[in-house]
Amino acid sequence: MKCSNIQKKLSAYQDRELKPQEQEQVRNHLLSCRACREQFAELERVWQTLGGLGEIHPDPWFYRQVARKIKEPREQRLFPRLQWVPRLLPAPVIVSILLVVGILTGTYLGNILAQSNIFLLHYEQASETVFNSMRVFDPAPPGTLAEGYYRMASYKGE
């Protein structure tokens, strides 16, 4: 068997998942092929390394905690799962703060602009503007082509 075929089977060989005949073939190949043997040794090294990961032990009261949770009403049992909700709070809090800051800034700037002369209209101009804006729903609002047409049509040569 070729090295490439053997190398594809090394993982299953390590896990003892090959058929007995294939297992034997790989074993014999490894005895005679240094490259494949090194590759298998590397797999084994990683496997051993993973074995170094420590095991944890359950608390002595593990069963009692399970039994207690079973007896608790479902809502109470699920409540601890909602412990992460407070961690969501920063988002609404930040949005609220931004909203309040925005409103305050807007009000402040609005007052400044309203008090400045640049934006103050004279009373008459203001009245005219307001009056014109109220005529926006007229059949021929002032300043439009329709108004020009009406004027031309009603012109009597005077």
């Binding site: 998942e17 993973l50 990961l53 420590g54 095991e55 944890i56 359950p58 399970v66 039994a67 988002a91």
Partner: protein, 193 residues
């Protein structure tokens, strides 16, 4: 107290009849394996304890409908695997919604692992560092590869059992393990004992 030699399938039948001692025996018998499966998969000790307890609550809830079609541990690990995968999905959602730092969600994996002897602080530090490296390598694997690898390496299950647990074929399990081992070879290249 019921006999220690009673098969787990038989214990399930007794639990269905209302035998609380049988449930206690079942929990005591499988708690370490379930806890460590969750721990190695999730990488967080506290979360692993909560999830392991949740596994046994699911067992209790399913006791009436349980049918011993497969090995009890296969059924138990299937519940465990599903819970772990769901937990990871929820954790991702929580992480997305909240501003929590990544290390709050398992970044300190395996750091609390204790040994039975009383090693020096230097040994403890080394042990901690080794565990962290292995944990990081494990956590870098995609979920299915990680679950297959943990079940193979630490529980020595067959490909067929692993396939039943994670819901895929034997050849798919083989492929998952080949890829997982290849990734770990790369990640643990510079690992020193």
């Amino acid at each position: 107290m019921v006999d220690q030699k009673i098969p787990s399938e038989e214990l399930m039948a007794r639990i269905a009849e209302g035998d609380d001692d049988a449930f206690e025996l079942l929990v005591n018998r499988h708690q370490t394996s379930v806890l460590n499966l969750v721990y190695r998969f999730i990488g967080d000790r506290t979360q692993a304890k909560d999830l392991a307890q949740e596994v046994f609550i699911r067992v209790w809830q399913a006791v009436k409908t349980y049918k011993p079609e497969a090995k009890f541990t296969t059924w138990l690990y299937r519940i465990t695997a599903n819970l772990c995968l769901n937990e990871l999905k929820s954790a991702r959602r929580r992480k997305w919604f909240s501003f929590s730092r990544s290390d709050e969600d398992g970044g300190h994996a395996f750091e609390e692992t204790l040994t039975d002897s009383a090693p020096s602080s230097e040994d403890l530090l080394l042990e901690k560092e080794r565990n962290r490296q292995i944990s990081d390598a494990l956590q870098s694997l995609p979920e299915n590869q990680r679950m297959a690898l943990v079940l193979k390496r630490y529980d020595d299950l067959s490909y067929q059992e692993i396939g039943q647990i994670i819901g895929c074929s034997v050849s798919a399990v083989e492929s998952l393990l080949v890829r997982a081992k290849r990734t770990l070879q790369e990640k643990l290249k510079n690992f020193e004992k």
